[in-house]
Amino acid sequence: MSDGLQVADVVVRYPGADRAAVDGVDLAVPTGEVVALLGPSGCGKSSLLRAVAGLEPLAGGDVAWDGVPVTGVPVHRRGFGLLFQDGQLFAHRDVAGNVAYGLPAGVRRDRAARTARVAELLDLVGLPGTQRRDVATLSGGERQRVALARALAPRPRLLLLDEPLSALDRGLRERLALDLRDVLVATATTALFVTHDQDEAFAVADRVAVMDAGRLLQVASPADLWARPASRRVAEFLGYEAFVPVPAAGDAAPPAVAALVAAARDAGVALLPAGGVLALAAGAFVVVPGGEGVERGGADHAAGAAVDGSGSGGTVPGAASGSAVGGPASDDRHHAGAAVDGQVEVVRSRRGRTEVVVEVAGVGRVSALAPAGWTCAAGERVALRVDAAAVAGLPG
């Protein structure tokens, strides 16, 4: 347990601030692992990163590498590299001058070795032959690539990345996130990566640490984090948009809620703790085109349905009996068919797919996905089915 970075009960406090920016955080990053520190802006993630780098003094706690405390070691002797959001390239040096800056003195003075290492690093980040370029002529993405090469040049034992992709436009960001992951893996670099973008965190990191208001809420692999958020706050930050209390066994519930419970139980992906809550991400409901124009069966909505409390495998009685939509989902365990519908409020297109915002009785406003090319008018009612992959169970 003393391999790599250990952050123990770290507190960072700024003068004049009434609460600590980082408030008792414990985190371990074993060598070779990439951990993303994910949180909304102002949650203290950058302060934690700066404290690890030695740029902010600790008000409490300890930072150690391989079990040896580094708290008293000045920044330039820690061997922790840092990549800023805007790269912070030295404007008075060209690309090669920037990349070579952090090379060990021996390599820096040996012209041949320096040239070779700079070329190797520029190849690594996909910018071969740019040595003599003035950094002012680089595009935003190229700048970050040069900054990455510069940060990797001294072979840091830990690389700290402070929102390195946030200043770039979306397409570039997504491509660079993958390249960044490749480079970190290829160089076996241990890295702590700060971001406010969950897609970026999931694309780059082996594990994701969610931070809010100076505290760590949850640390888990991307898949675990998505499937089992530890709290409603974590789920909200990951993009879950609606929260539905799980009704007690035998209680009457609106059909949509009953369908959700059934689908989650069938899929087995979501835990359903007693008194728990189901979190719904965009796409938890999918529009069933064949069900268009279904007459609204008054009984379904007025009476609701009873929730089967008997356990796994069972179908929800209300859903089965009232099913007017024999969708293709019936043969798919994850897609429970149900007589659920909602009123369309907004229709929009997202990357060619239609997405509708629907008001679902008992659930609220949620984003539902529809097949490409399908469309409808606001105000219409559409049939919906549940996709359990976008549903997670939370403790109450």
Binding site: G54, L55, P74, H76, R77, Y101, A136, P154, A186
Partner: protein, 572 residues
């Protein structure tokens, strides 16, 4: 692939960490100690000595001097004149300078670079030369002699505006250039007329820059010495010239000391106002957009007015006195010719040396002074550019900043006279510095240090602190960070600082007039002495010497400006 275990430096022993903390602390201590010691010995001590003579009689504090000096009507007249002249000079410089800033920094036209350089010339001219130039224009028989302005307040105010026009143009223009044009475009799109945009959007945004420039101009006007001494004659003066008169002619040290304190109060007020305004400018600058300029649009009334005002200011106020000075220097009692310049090679009248010899002395002294000022001012700028974490340390840095602005305002005459009194045994050491030619250079350096600090500091402050942080995370020790980040960037400002320091030293007159030995006078001293002698030949020689001094100063500043590195280079 390298194994991760092999990478990175070995964990550092605690002892090494301690050494790494102690050594920078020592270096910073020295960086603070050297300038503070310099200022203490060569500024605080002499000034305290003089002020002390005014207030200490027989070893006891005696403030009766205040009551006595303030009971004199002459004191009130001088204080009133100082404030009135400074206020008028400031108003004139701002009214003419703001349109000038617009034309020179927001408009594009052929020759703009040359015009910007020309506008800066008066600011670096020695004050004595400015006085001579205006006097030769306004004196009976001069080009504008018919206006009867010779020896009037108007003449003094015009000269002050001439001298300070560049301060307003450069300060306000620098800000205007970086002002985001889109704010104005947004106002136009909302239906505002150009006039309304100017008064409700542009001028309020420039407010801090204008206030900063105005307080600096007020400071320069209120402490003007050489110009006022030459133009004001016996009737008009400033507190500074009055200190000189009380010291050298009436030998009333107590009155001089009281007036020194009065000047200090005025200066402290102006500096505080300037500091506040500057802080707001620096904050406002951080949101500045890209440099924007458009071709002159003479059809628009505001542009036309700005161009007209600037043309009048540049041609009438700046160019006319300078051209007139050169022309007059070529006029001799026997017609046109270079006789006045030929006279510079031989000692004139009762002077011990020729003007050429004095020019050599001036250059040597100014070189020494510039080196001292660069070292001291550079260290101060470096220390003051830091933003320490602790409140106490931050206050200390702010205090150091203010301390080194004091020489801007404390009477140079007081400093010069203080040197004569205190330097027989500086710090109690038995070294009589009064006979050393180094003393003049040191006095000039004291005056030039604030200019160096003001030129270098903004450049150092503009460095993003994360540049130093990123260098440290790349393994650069504090010394290497300083060399490769701070110094590499500051080099760009050094040329300009060098030019200003040299110009200030070359033209320094207040302190030098006390310290220069009779057999080794500097050029401004020679000019002033020549002016005081009767005879057309002496006057002609004074004009020629003024042209020589102006040419030397402007030439050196131009060369120094060339030394400025372009913004970005591929240097290793």
């Amino acid at each position: 692939m390298t194994t991760t275990l092999a990478r990175g430096p070995a964990p550092t022993a605690p002892a090494a960490g301690r050494a790494a903390r102690v050594r920078p602390a020592l270096a910073w201590g020295a960086a603070v100690a050297v300038p503070v010691l310099f200022l203490g010995v060569f500024f605080v001590q002499p000034v305290a000595e003089i002020v002390g003579r005014g207030f200490v009689t027989d070893g006891r504090l005696d403030l009766s001097g205040f009551a006595e000096v303030f009971a004199r009507p002459r004191t009130w007249r001088v204080v009133g004149q100082t404030l009135a002249q400074a206020a008028l000079g400031t108003a004139g410089a701002v009214l003419l300078g703001v349109p000038g800033a617009y034309v020179l920094y927001r408009c594009r036209f052929p020759g703009r670079g040359a015009l910007r350089a020309f506008v800066t010339v008066p600011f670096v001219l020695p004050t004595v030369v400015v006085g001579v130039a205006f006097r030769s224009l306004l004196v009976d028989g001069g080009l504008l002699g018919g206006l009867g302005l010779d020896g009037t307040v108007t003449a003094i105010v015009l000269a002050l505006v001439f001298f300070n026009y560049a301060v307003v143009v450069r300060t306000v223009g620098g800000m205007w250039e970086r002002l985001d044009e889109r704010t104005e475009q947004a106002a136009r799109a909302l239906g505002a007329s150009p006039w309304r945009v100017l008064t409700t959007v542009t001028l309020p945004a420039l407010g801090p820059a204008i206030a900063s420039a105005a307080s600096l101009v007020f400071l320069f006007c209120a402490t003007a010495f050489g110009t006022v001494l030459v133009l004001g004659g016996r009737r008009y003066g400033t507190v500074e010239t009055e200190i000189w008169i009380q010291t050298t002619q009436f030998l009333d040290l107590r009155a001089a000391a009281v007036l020194s304190v009065v000047q200090l109060v005025v200066v402290a007020a102006a500096l505080t106002a300037a500091g506040r305004a500057r802080a707001r400018t620096e904050r406002a600058l951080s949101v500045g957009g890209p440099a924007a300029a458009h071709p002159v649009r003479l059809r628009e009334p505001l542009d036309a007015a700005a161009v007209a005002v600037t043309a009048v200011a540049v041609l009438g106020l700046l160019a006319l006195p300078l051209v007139n000075l050169v022309v007059r220097s070529l006029r001799t009692p026997r017609g046109w010719g270079f006789d006045n310049y030929a006279a510079l090679a031989v000692p004139q009248d009762t002077l011990a040396v020729s003007a050429w010899h004095a020019a050599g002395t001036s250059l040597r002294t100014a070189t020494d002074a510039t080196v001292i000022a660069l070292v001291v001012g550079g260290l101060v700028a470096l220390v003051v550019s830091r933003r320490p974490r602790g409140t106490a340390a931050r206050r200390a840095v702010g205090g150091l900043d203010a301390l080194f602005m004091l020489p801007l305002g404390v009477s140079a005459v007081t400093v010069g006279f203080g040197f004569l009194v205190a330097m027989d045994a500086p710090l109690g050491l038995p070294v009589d510095l009064r006979t050393s030619p180094v003393l003049v250079a040191v006095a000039q350096a004291v005056v030039a240090v604030p200019l160096v600090v003001r030129t270098v500091l903004p450049v150092l402050r503009a460095i993003d602190p994360r540049q130093r942080e990123v260098a440290a995370t790349l393994g650069a020790a504090p010394g290497r960070v300083l060399r490769t980040v701070d110094l590499a960037v500051a080099v760009r400002a050094v040329g300009l600082a060098l030019g200003f320091a040299f110009a200030a030293s070359l033209g320094e007159f207040g302190a030098t007039s006390f310290l220069a030995r009779p057999q080794e006078p500097t050029l401004p001293v020679v000019i002033f002495r020549l002016l005081g002698r009767p005879g057309a030949e002496n006057y002609g020689a004074a004009l020629a010497a003024s042209v020589l001094l102006a040419a030397l100063t402007a030439g050196i500043v131009a060369v120094c400006e060339r030394l400025r590195r372009p913004g970005i280079g591929g240097a290793w």
